[in-house]
Structure formats: C-alpha cells, structure tokens
C-alpha cells in the first residue's frame, strides 16, 4: 500500500491508493490485444511449416528411396538447418514476429533458441560464450525432454513390458 499526496484546491489531502484500485484503472485503459489474429497467424504459419516438412518427407522418400519413418529424420535435420541459417541471417525473428507460436512450437523454434543464444554469446568467446550459453534458452526443453522420456520409459517398462 502506497500513499500519494493529492492536491485538492491547494489543500493537501492524503489519499490512499491501493493496488486494486490502480489495477482496475489500468485494466480499463489497456489497449485490446488481438489474440484471435495471433492464433490465426500461428495456425497458418505452423501449418505451412508442417506442410513443407511433409513435402520434404515425400521428396526424401522418392529420391532417396526411404520409408516414411526413415525419411522423418533427414526432414527434421533439414528443417533445423533452414531455421539456423535464417536465424543467422537475421530473418527468423522477423518471420516469428508475425508467426508467434507457428514458428516457435515446431522444431524450428528450438533450433532458433540454440542458434540465437550461441550467436549472441560469440562476443564472450567459444568456451565461456557460445558453448556455455548455447543452451541458456533451450536447456529447459532438453531437461524436461530427458526427464519426461525417462518417466515414460519407466512407465512403459513396468506396465507394458
């Protein structure tokens, strides 16, 4: 609770302004955020990335004569490569500004998190900069991924053999 002086007709009147009053006023004045537009754009961009991935899978299947399952891995590697190059060229964040979750959720988002952190840290050198900061943003994904994989693996082993 903070106190504010309010000058009312040259007379000092001390009024209390509390958090709730302030939050109410601030919420009333808040500009509208376009969640719908964000969701639609994320859906479209994310969908396009998915479609592009599927096209890559088809190409790898036809050209390299892989099965659909085998073609998945080179497709992911290609997507990561493209995301990294676009990050390095400074294009990825410009697309992501509009795409939001559309570029963030697929593997492209993870690739961008690693590359952008590595790029940013190159001024601190290879070891203390790039190598140690590369996983600053993506580290949580890896940690939770490993933990989740371990837990699910145990559950599967115990209950389903």
């Amino acid at each position: 609770m903070n106190k504010f002086i309010r000058l009312v007709k040259n007379r000092i009147e001390v009024k209390l302004m509390n958090e709730n009053q302030y939050n109410k006023l601030a919420e009333d004045l808040k500009p509208k955020v376009s969640y719908f537009k964000n969701a639609v754009l994320a859906f479209l961009f994310g969908g396009c990335i998915g479609l592009f991935g599927q096209i890559l899978v088809r190409i790898y299947m036809n050209v390299l004569h892989l099965t659909e399952k085998e073609a998945g891995t080179p497709m992911i590697v290609t997507m990561i490569l493209i995301a990294c190059i676009l990050t390095g060229l400074g294009i990825f964040d410009k697309i992501a500004k509009y795409a939001g979750a559309g570029t963030f959720v697929p593997i492209t988002g993870f690739a961008n998190a690693l590359t952008s952190a590595a790029l940013e840290s190159k001024s601190e050198g290879i070891v203390l900069g790039v190598a140690s900061n590369m996983f600053k943003l993506g580290g949580a994904v890896i940690t939770f991924g490993v933990v989740a994989a371990y837990v699910m693996g145990v559950i599967r082993y115990v209950f389903f053999g």
Partner: protein
C-alpha cells in the same frame, strides 16, 4: 503508517546552475524517428563499427560527450566532475567511458531515470560544492539491454503487446555556474514506489505510480500547478502508461494537456516497430538534451519539467516473481 513521509519536502532549488552545452548520439531507428534531425551524431547500425554491442555503446557515449564539449570549446581538463549512469550491470558502459576522461567520477544507477538522477546530482554539486563545471551523461543500447534483461536479439519470439523498445543512444549535458540562457531551476528526488506490478513486459504500467507521485510532490513542494509549465514530459511510460497517468490526474481534477512522454516523442509509434514506445535511459536524455533544450534556447518553451522514470528490476528479481519497484526523478529547466 503515518502519512508524513509524503509531506516531506523532496524538491531542491538551484540558483546558480546553468546548462552550458549538450551532446547527443543516436542509433539508426532513433535517427529515422520524428526527432531524428535534432540529434547531431548517429550510427546506421547497432555495432557502429565495433566488435561488440557493449563497445558500440561506449563509443556512442564518447562521441556524445566530445560533441557536447566541442560546442563550447571545452576539453576534459575543464571538467571538475563527471556523473553518469546506464542500464548495464556494474555500470560498465559509463565506467569504461569514464576511464578516458581523467576527471573525478561518480557512477549512478536509477534504471531509466538515470538522465534526471545524474543531472540532479551534477546540479547539486555545481550549486553547493567547489565543483563548478560538471558533466552528466547517460546511455542505453537496445542490444546490450535486450541481452541483459530479455532475450537474444535473433530469438524468434512474439513480443508482448505492452512491451517497449529500448532506445539506442547517449545524451550528455554540461552544467556550470556560468550564466547561460537556460538554467536548471529545481529537482525533485523521487521515492521508490511499488504498487505490486509484476509484468516485466509492461513497465509503463509499473512506472506510472512513481511519475504520478513525483509530479504531485513537485507541484506541492513548490505550490505550483501543471499550468506553470509549458511542457511536462515523462521518460518512458509508453502510450499505455501515458494514458493511465492522464487518467489518474483527471481523477484529481487536473488536465494534463501540456504533457507528453519522451518514449512516445522519440519514435513514430504507428510506423516504427517499437511496440508501445521507447524506453531506456537514453529516451529522456535524448529528448530533453537534443530536442527540448534547443527549444528553450530559442525561447519557444520557457519552463519545462522532465520526469525520468525508472523500473528498478533485475532479471533475477523477475524470475523470483518479485514485483517491480519504480522511481521517478524530476528536473525543471527554464529560460533565464
């Protein structure tokens, strides 16, 4: 709790503090902004030919200082004291510049309120001590601030709508007791105010209460009204924060018609990608030293009040879910 704390006088009055000169340096987006032509030095990119963003920020500060001194044919030897601050940990931007100045130096940290904090310290030294020619400078750099407070530059994330864009640039001001045509008349030292706002992506909203408090404090201490000023500016409240502040004053029966926000003046909000406006130490420094001071010199404005606002958060305090304490210091400049 007693209410006496708010009724303490928090305003200093200066009789003999004059502005001798100012110097500015801006980054590319600030140069393209509506006030671009008022800034004498600029860079086309954020690196400014340096290897790191941090070095670029220092170079920008050096040029802003040199151009401030050159305008009045001064050198570092003429300076009695330097007061400066910036946004970076350990004030590295300011400290690394100060090592070349060969002058007694005081580093100050007030987040984005540093422009007024350094100015009010400088003015106090000029008025009350034997340091009679004091330089104050402050800088911020979009890339160095982003990497310290937010995310890597190339990180593909959709910024929150209420966020602001840290301005790149440096403003420096030379104060002395030699009569010139613009003087620093008053300074109101702000209190740290925390209304339990926790969204680090909406610092405008967090900082409004401190600007509100300091403005009332200033008017009350001097028994003035907002109409005694040709222009009142806040540092970086964003378009959203600006509306909240106006609304708070409206509730007190005061219309803030002669009011604007430096972060909103520095950029073309509708056409430049700065979200809700500019922020950072440089915002209030650039607008007041580069744009408002010449207007005072030309007597197009006669008395202005600058309320630089600072959010005193750190990345650690944000991660620990702490609220954002804020502070606002005020400086009034007037034509002699």
């Amino acid at each position: 709790m007693s209410s006496s704390a708010s009724q303490k006088n928090a305003t200093l009055t200066f009789q003999n503090v004059y502005i001798e000169s100012t110097g500015t340096f801006v980054g590319p987006i600030e140069k393209e902004g509506p006030l671009g032509d008022y800034f004498e030095n600029y860079s086309d990119d954020l690196y400014y030919g340096e290897k790191t963003f941090e070095k670029a920020e220092r170079e920008m500060s050096k040029i802003a200082i040199d151009s401030c001194l050159q305008k009045v044919n001064r050198t570092y030897d003429d300076l009695d004291l330097v007061v400066a601050g910036d946004l970076l940990n350990q004030l590295t931007a300011s400290n690394f510049v100060a090592k070349d100045l060969n002058t007694p130096f005081i580093g100050v940290y007030g987040a984005c309120s540093t422009a007024c904090l350094s100015m009010l310290n400088a003015a106090t030294y000029v008025e009350h001590t034997s340091f009679k020619r004091v330089l104050a400078y402050t800088s911020s750099h979009n890339a160095t601030a982003e990497r310290q407070y937010r995310y890597p530059l190339e990180y593909g994330i959709q910024k929150k709508d209420m966020t602001t864009y840290t301005a790149t640039g440096c403003g420096s001001i030379l104060l002395s007791n030699q009569v010139s045509n613009v003087r620093i008349a008053h300074a109101t030292i702000g209190k740290v105010i925390d209304l339990n706002q926790k969204d680090a992506n909406d610092m405008g909203r967090a900082m409004v209460p401190c600007a509100y408090d300091t403005l009332h404090q200033h008017l009350n201490d001097l028994q003035r009204t907002v109409n005694d000023y040709d222009l009142i500016v806040t540092g970086d409240l964003s378009t959203y924060g600006k509306e909240i502040l106006k609304e708070l004053f409206k509730a007190d029966g005061i219309n803030l018609d002669n009011y604007d926000d430096c972060g909103c003046m520095l950029f073309d909000i509708a056409n430049q990608e700065v979200f809700q406006g500019g922020s950072g130490c440089a915002c209030s420094a650039l607008v007041s030293y580069g744009y408002l001071y010449p207007l005072l010199q030309q007597k197009k404005l006669h008395r202005i009040l600058i309320l630089a606002t600072g959010a005193l958060l750190s990345p650690t305090s944000t991660q620990q879910k702490e609220s954002i304490p804020c502070i606002s210091h005020a400086i009034s400049m007037e034509v002699v």
